[in-house]
């Protein structure tokens, strides 16, 4: 189909005075869950829903949209190497599609597949942007040239391949900054409504799977170091968080929600469609009703965090905790309604009144929406590296308190109780009260004069102006490259200020080491001080005093160190004080990072929170958990290789292989991605030095 020029909204003779304003939203039809559930007669409301996504168009609006769809945030490229086909792109601006909410749901029409991945990805991005109050950025593309210099590149759009390979899997590939969806004919074990052996299953038509993978991409854009398995919760967090975002989106589909409430008599804590994830895929693989469920388990004893080890399983505990909190909040919000209607908690007799269903759905939708936004906002309150679920609970509580100082509806209590119930504990916290869980500010009382100087320095570097500019850009502009550049400039500025903090105070309160160190394993600059990366600088809005919205500067600072599997080797490398200068440090087995996230109120001149990793980089205790976690991963790596016999080791991760991707929907072989071990992590680590782009640096490790 020919690509149309900018649509002419004026009459033939140009006589129309004004064109109609651009709409805010584009309406697109998608499967509410997936094609299998759309085939069930008694789940009629689940068949298809209309999603409203931001209006991007060649005719103007928030950004441009061309066939693909290729918009400002995502680009759908439908290349299918396994079948040897290329499916031409859909043109969503075609009048015929505009007039009927896009292409009709169909498994046999690639145009609909393209439309659905676009719509669901955009919707998920929208949820993020709304919660964070700023535009989302994807992970940078980082390269290392022959001389070992690293460069970062701005990736404007997330690439989406709806038919990337022929296997029951899907993943976000950090190396391609792309979502890859597989398709496969269901096997003999396929069982359940809507699936049959041999029937084709498309992972790109599962709302949940698309939302899940898009969330991986968004999270990676915000926290690139969260793909490093430095503790058992790290990859699990990625998985659980992505599942939670997918599941809480179910509640935005009004028809589905009312249907479920009607069928369950208002109870959401029994197995229901809202709590199931990837129904069709689960059935096609013979898993039962769904691939995963937020109700863990549906029967029997509650699963707790220490019962499980694999990343998806641990992630499921996080989802379960968030869902438990949701259920508690929902119950609290609906008790009165049910009492008024004379419906008991243990189940109603007969059908609920239509009005009651609507009111219950209102409450469920609100509660789910609130919880989802809390979950996303908490990401700004997490440590830059090495997060665990306990940290995340603290981030949830702190972030929510910043937005809603008085917790009238007891959301925070519900979260604390739900996490406790799943065995998720926050370390180093005296008790589980809200006060104890809120992150603390660094102490400044010991040397107020010196810490005050931080703010003088920030002021003289005109950081405040930059932050304000960035905050404005983040809400106003459509050109995210401008935001990216502004954020980079701010990072460089902050690097200059933050590395000159009083060293004793920084180590004690921020776990940042700014003095010279002796351990050779620590990556240092030319003066022997740990090299420091300001790896993120962004703005976070919150409700300030007097209910005014104010802006905090969020800065993430990290340092890194070479880790060795063998503690003796570690000691040898670290303590070889008299090693000849210039002699290379042996290749690391893994990298350890530590650092902190600072939330800074530039107006009131205070560091509101210092969210630190466990230990400073020069404290040898920082090595233990990454080493043990890596040991466990290697163990699995080896087992994966065992499958890849006859020649052990030969098939250790090929980057393109789904099994080598850290974010595969199903882990074929639970290998460590190349990104975490050996060459790549070293290369990757060199990218850190990018924080001071203008200062030419001596090549650090002449290996």
């Amino acid at each position: 189909m020919p690509r149309r020029k900018k649509a002419d909204t004026r009459g033939v003779d140009g006589a129309w005075e004004r064109s109609p304003p651009a709409p805010h939203r584009r309406r697109l039809r998608v499967y509410a869950l997936d094609p299998a559930t759309a085939l069930e007669i008694d789940r009629e409301p689940l068949h298809a829903v209309v999603l409203e996504v931001p209006w991007e168009s060649a005719t103007g609006g928030r950004g441009s949209l061309s066939p693909g769809p290729v918009g400002e945030m995502v680009e759908v490229v439908d290349v299918d190497p396994a079948s040897g086909r290329f499916y031409p792109p859909i043109d969503l601006d075609h009048p015929h599609l505009l007039a009927q909410d896009g292409a009709a749901p169909s498994t046999g029409d690639p145009h609909f597949h393209q439309q659905m991945v676009y719509a669901v990805a955009m919707r998920t991005i929208g949820v993020f942007e709304q919660a964070l109050g700023r535009r989302a950025l994807w992970a940078d593309h980082v390269t290392v040239d022959a001389e070992g210099r690293t460069r970062r590149f701005f990736v404007r759009r997330l690439r989406i391949y709806p038919h990337a390979f022929r296997a029951p899997n899907a993943y976000y590939s950090p190396s391609k900054v792309a979502l890859l969806f597989g398709y496969f004919p269901a096997g003999e074990e396929a069982e359940g409504p809507g699936v049959a052996p041999g029937g084709m299953v498309y992972t790109c038509l599962s709302y949940d799977i698309v939302a899940h993978e898009t969330t991986h991409a968004l999270l990676d854009g915000l926290h690139p170091r969260y793909s490093e398995p430095s503790n058992p919760d790290m990859l699990a967090f990625h998985e659980g968080f992505a599942d939670a975002v997918a599941i809480f989106q179910h509640f935005t589909h009004r028809e589905v929600l009312e249907h479920v409430i009607e069928r369950s008599g208002g109870q959401l804590d029994q197995e229901n469609d809202l709590a199931l994830l990837a129904v069709e895929m689960g059935r096609a693989l013979g898993h039962g009703e769904a691939l995963r469920t937020a109700l863990q388990p549906s029967r029997g004893r509650r699963r707790r965090l220490d019962d499980v080890e694999e990343a998806h399983d641990r992630g499921a505990i996080l989802v379960a905790a968030l869902f438990d909190a949701f259920l508690a909040i929902y119950r609290q919000r609906t008790d009165d309604l049910l009492r008024i209607a004379g419906v008991g908690r243990t189940g109603s007799s007969g059908e609920l009144h239509r009005d009651l269903v609507r009111r219950l759905a209102d409450e469920a939708q609100k509660a789910a929406g609130h919880l989802l936004r809390m979950a996303i906002r908490a990401l700004d309150y997490c440590p830059p590296v090495d997060l665990d679920f306990g940290d995340y609970l603290r981030a949830l509580i702190t972030a929510d308190r910043d937005l809603v100082p008085i917790d009238e509806r007891n959301y925070r209590l519900a979260l604390i109780e739900a996490f406790r119930g799943r065995g998720i504990l926050a370390r180093g916290v005296r008790n589980l009260s809200e006060e104890a869980l809120v992150w603390r500010a660094p102490r400044t009382d010991l040397d107020p004069a010196r810490t005050a100087r931080i703010f003088d320095a920030l002021e003289s570097a005109k950081v405040k102006t930059s932050v304000e500019e960035l905050a404005a850009l983040w809400t106003l502009t459509n050109d995210r490259a401008t935001i990216w550049k502004a954020a980079r400039a701010l990072r460089a500025k902050l690097h200059g200020v933050l590395t000159r903090l009083p060293a004793g105070w920084a180590r004690e309160e921020l776990h940042l080491v700014l003095d010279e160190v002796e351990q050779r394993g620590i990556h240092t600059d030319e003066r022997g001080r740990p090299s420091t990366e300001v790896h993120s600088a962004r703005v976070a809005r919150r409700r300030g005093p007097g209910d005014q919205s104010t802006v905090d500067l969020v800065v993430e600072i990290t340092q890194r160190r070479r880790g060795y599997d063998d503690p003796a080797r570690q000691r040898a490398v670290d303590r070889e004080a008299d090693a000849a200068a210039g002699e290379g440090v042996p290749r690391a087995d893994f990298l350890v990072r530590s650092g902190c996230t600072l939330l800074i109120d530039l107006v009131r001149r205070e560091v509101r929170y210092a969210i630190r990793s466990r230990f400073p980089i020069d404290d040898d205790r920082c090595l233990a958990t990454p080493r043990a976690t890596r040991g466990a991963e290697l163990e699995r790596d080896l087992r994966a290789d065992a499958r890849a016999a006859p020649f052990a080791g030969r098939f250790a991760p090929i980057d393109e292989l789904g099994s080598g991707e850290p974010f595969a929907l199903l882990h074929a072989s639970t290998r460590i991605s190349e990104a975490y071990a050996g060459t790549d992590s070293e290369a990757d680590s060199e990218a850190d030095s990018e924080a001071t782009p203008r200062v030419p640096r001596r090549a650090e490790d002449p290996r």
Binding site: V70, V79, D80, A82, G84, R85, F86, Y87, P88, G108, P110, H141, T143, F153, F154, R159, H163, A164, R166, A167, K176, L180, F184, P185, G187, M200, Y202, E310, N478, D479, A481, T482, K485, D566, G631, L634, E635, R636, D637, R639, D641, A642, R643, A644, A645, P646, F647, A648, G649, R650, F651, A652, I654, L657, S659, L666, A668, A677, G678, P693
Partner: protein, 576 residues
């Protein structure tokens, strides 16, 4: 020194060839006539791309082995065993130079093969058809991928063994598999042909047809009658499931301390493979209708036709702009693939662009996915390869005058091992009673280590059953070559696998013989950090092996004293 390999007066003599990364063994048993030996030959091959560090190619190596086999036996070998259909076990029957000697200058009296090669066996026939289908599908899919990557044909189709195929060299195991599987089936055909009747020009039969025997697990064969050697057959198991199982949790030797993750459920991987299988089969069964395509025939454009020569169209324009033409060179984008931000669709005005300002190009090659499917094919290829290893014939051989057993396992993997070391295979003991596979293992004094010592071809349970204080292990390998072997861009092979080597040292009291370096005291330490592959073995693990070697210096010296070391082989006599 006479070239002939004379049998001992009692017991058996074993010659283990040291030609490289492959198996070849010759056993000499005494007969009633002191001047006549009874020779058994097991396998003759080399890995198809093997090259010795001194540059000797596999042709010369195999020819030298063939010549020695001829000279050692006077050109008369009583039985030839081919354990399984892999090039490193029968490549000698493929190359012209070695085949000429084996074919023309040695008279083989019998051929012994596992039941899986029996044309009259229904299950074997079924399994072969399945395997053939897999190979055909792999070839077709791989060809399609190769074409899209700008490779015109699969180099392996024509590549000679010993050469590096050109096309997808080093990229794909599936490609490699196709290469050697063809040469391997040619080799097996050549072996079978040797046993057919031979006629002279006049059409008169000069050499009669000689028998091929197929063995089932549980068989006892007495080639010289009740007083000669006894040969028990333990594998391959008659079970598709077992043959397809190449790994089982907790059965293998593993590195490092116990980790709680050991018992992880690997089911998703198996299911994934099964689904992939279904996908490929679907395509085959449906013939031209291509049931496993994403969509009906006719939907979309042929990817292979979207090249530079294609006629201009909006579709081609989109493809060129957002995906890019040309081969995906597999580059991760470290160089090129970028344009200045000013050139990007929506970057700021021309004046704002500075030289650090870059945005990823829409058609960057590193974002393409042409190779993703290759990875999936590789998994299938590996599964196939493991299956072939599992069809290895496993023999427990006892000389006529002794109860000691020599265990030859081919390259059996988990499914095969478990069928006789976890379960029990009962055999006739040749004296009216019966003997179990476990008892035979307990009597083993020589263990031919499976699959060059790889980590999943020697099971923990099996080794635990080998309790004889005399046990000697022989590992046919070239550790250094394997270490540097690259296949899909990642580190070399660990053969022998250190935890297995260590377990064998312990079990054999130091008497572990490697065909490349020989005795443990001469074994070089393959230091992992010198290689660019990652390596899960710690210094402690290496140190443990070294401690064991030091502890058993006496036993190793004793072995050295009774070992005949030649450049081409080691020879060991097993006394009754």
């Amino acid at each position: 020194m006479s070239a002939t390999m004379t049998p001992p007066a009692a017991g058996v003599k074993v010659r283990a060839y040291r030609h490289g990364f492959g198996d070849c063994f010759l056993l000499a048993f005494p007969t009633a006539d002191p001047d006549v030996a009874w020779y058994l030959m097991i396998d003759c091959g080399l890995f198809w791309q093997y090259k010795r560090s001194d540059g000797a190619g596999i042709r010369e190596q195999l020819a030298a082995v063939a010549a020695d086999l001829r000279d050692a036996t006077g050109g008369d070998i009583d039985a030839l065993v081919i354990t399984h259909e892999h090039y490193d076990h029968l490549g000698g029957f493929h190359h012209e130079e070695s085949l000429r000697i084996l074919h023309d200058e040695i008279h083989f009296r019998e051929l012994w093969l596992p039941w899986t090669e029996d044309p009259g066996d229904d299950l074997a026939e079924e399994l072969r058809e399945e395997a053939d289908l897999e190979l055909r599908l792999l070839r077709r899919e791989l060809l399609a991928v190769a074409r899209r990557m700008g490779v015109r044909s699969l180099g392996v189709e024509d590549a000679e063994a010993g050469e590096q195929p050109e096309a997808l060299a080093g990229l794909s195991f599936a490609d490699e598999l196709l290469g050697f599987s063809r040469s391997t089936s040619d080799a097996l055909a050549a072996v079978r042909e040797m046993f057919e009747a031979r006629t002279d020009e006049a059409g008169d039969e000069v050499v009669p047809r000689r028998p091929t025997r197929y063995f089932d697990p549980g068989d006892l064969h007495l080639p010289m009658g009740p007083d000669g050697p006894r040969i028990w057959v333990l594998g391959p198991p008659r079970s598709r499931q077992a043959l397809r199982s190449n790994e089982r949790s907790g059965e293998h030797f593993e590195s490092g301390a116990d980790h709680p993750l050991r018992a992880l459920d690997q089911a998703p991987a198996e299911r994934r493979l099964a689904a992939l299988h279904t996908a490929l089969e679907g395509r085959e069964d449906a013939g031209r209708s291509d049931a496993a395509r994403a969509f009906e025939r006719g939907v979309g454009l042929e990817l292979g036709e979207l090249g530079e020569e294609a006629a201009p169209s909006p579709e081609l324009e989109f493809f060129r702009r957002h995906y890019g033409l040309g081969a995906d060179d597999g580059n991760d984008g470290s160089d090129g693939g970028m344009v200045d931000g000013g050139g990007g669709a929506a970057a700021g005005g021309p004046g704002e662009v500075d030289d650090q300002d870059v945005e990823v190009a829409d058609d960057a090659a590193w974002r393409r996915i042409d190779r993703v499917w290759l990875g999936e094919l590789d998994e299938l290829a590996l599964q196939y390869d493991n299956y072939v290893n599992n069809t290895s014939m496993v023999l427990a051989i006892a000389p006529g005058d002794s109860d000691k057993v020599l265990l030859f396992v081919g390259d059996a993997q988990a499914g095969n091992w478990l069928s006789w070391c976890d379960e029990v295979v009962r055999c006739d003991d040749g004296a009216g009673g019966s003997v179990s596979s476990h008892e035979l293992l307990q009597r083993a004094v020589l263990y031919k280590v499976g699959h060059h010592g790889s980590h999943n071809a020697t099971l923990r349970k099996g080794v635990e059953l080998m309790t004889s204080p005399e046990l000697v292990a022989v590992i046919p390998t070239d550790e250094e070559w394997a270490w540097h072997k690259r296949s899909s861009g990642d580190g070399g092979w660990r053969m022998p696998f250190l935890p297995i080597y260590r377990a064998l040292l312990e079990r054999c009291r130091g008497r572990v013989l490697q065909t490349d370096s020989g005795l443990p005291t001469d074994k070089p330490r393959m230091t992992p950090r010198d290689s660019d592959g990652k390596e899960p073995f710690s210094d402690e693990e290496f140190a443990e092996s070294e401690t064991l070697i030091a502890q058993h210096a006496g036993e190793i010296a004793e072995l050295a004293a009774r070992l005949r070391s030649e450049e081409l082989f080691f020879e060991l006599t097993i006394d009754p």
